[in-house]
Symmetry: C2
Amino acid sequence: MSDGQVEDSQQEPAEESGDVKVAALEDRLLRLAADFENYKKRAAREREAYVTLANERLIGELLPILDDLERALVAATEHEEAQLEEGVRLVHRSLAGVLERQGVTAIETDGRFDPHVHEALLSQPSEAEEGSVLDVVQKGYRLGDRVVRPARVVVAAPIEQQ
Amino acid sequence: MSDGQVEDSQQEPAEESGDVKVAALEDRLLRLAADFENYKKRAAREREAYVTLANERLIGELLPILDDLERALVAATEHEEAQLEEGVRLVHRSLAGVLERQGVTAIETDGRFDPHVHEALLSQPSEAEEGSVLDVVQKGYRLGDRVVRPARVVVAAPIEQQ
């Protein structure tokens, strides 16, 4: 496009070409500014729509799980224990699958206490290396890089020498 | 590249003020276009962040349900039937509560078939009024005003007179 402008200025008489060029540029500037404004408005609307849509998709995946739970409840009421058990396993697999597809992963708890992803509920004198995780009271989870919930753990403290 | 053009045009004798104006406008145009581009990129990033955040909140509510399911699985493995049953009831209540707080409501199926919210799986000759819902095969749900899943129903057809 800038090549085109350069050629124009060479062909047309100097003064007129300058005015024409200025007018054309001012016009382009106005149009671009208007496009920018419209884009901003649309982006704000879209952001809201995306949130709704994202939630809707996740909610849509949870409905079959609610169905399975309701079937499990029927089995419980009718004391069909095997069916109830199978139902719970199914529901667990489904919910774990939904969360996995959302990018949720369990926080590892093998090894040393890590304050970024673990929460120490208790430190307990132990033969294990000081600062190692002895027990997991509640599992922790990440969503992508972010910690959604830290793992609640028991941490090894040194045994006091008496 | 545009800087080069501006310098070239300044060296030429003709219409200096016009050239300066053109150069200034071209500069503004380039800046605005660059701002626009940056805005677009930022908007795309923000849109993703919003979706992640919205999902994160919902996912955070699902984690305790996964915990309860895991406890129910332990009860199942240990054949503690009463505990298993109680666990399933708890999980059902929790998941129903999460969905309710998200704005999910069950689609009503008392009364006439409504193609906007019902899906007819079958029409069955019946004494009931033609077009009334006889049975619900799968519950349907709304999220706010939107149908996330229509209710799958059996609809009453007139009994053929022979």
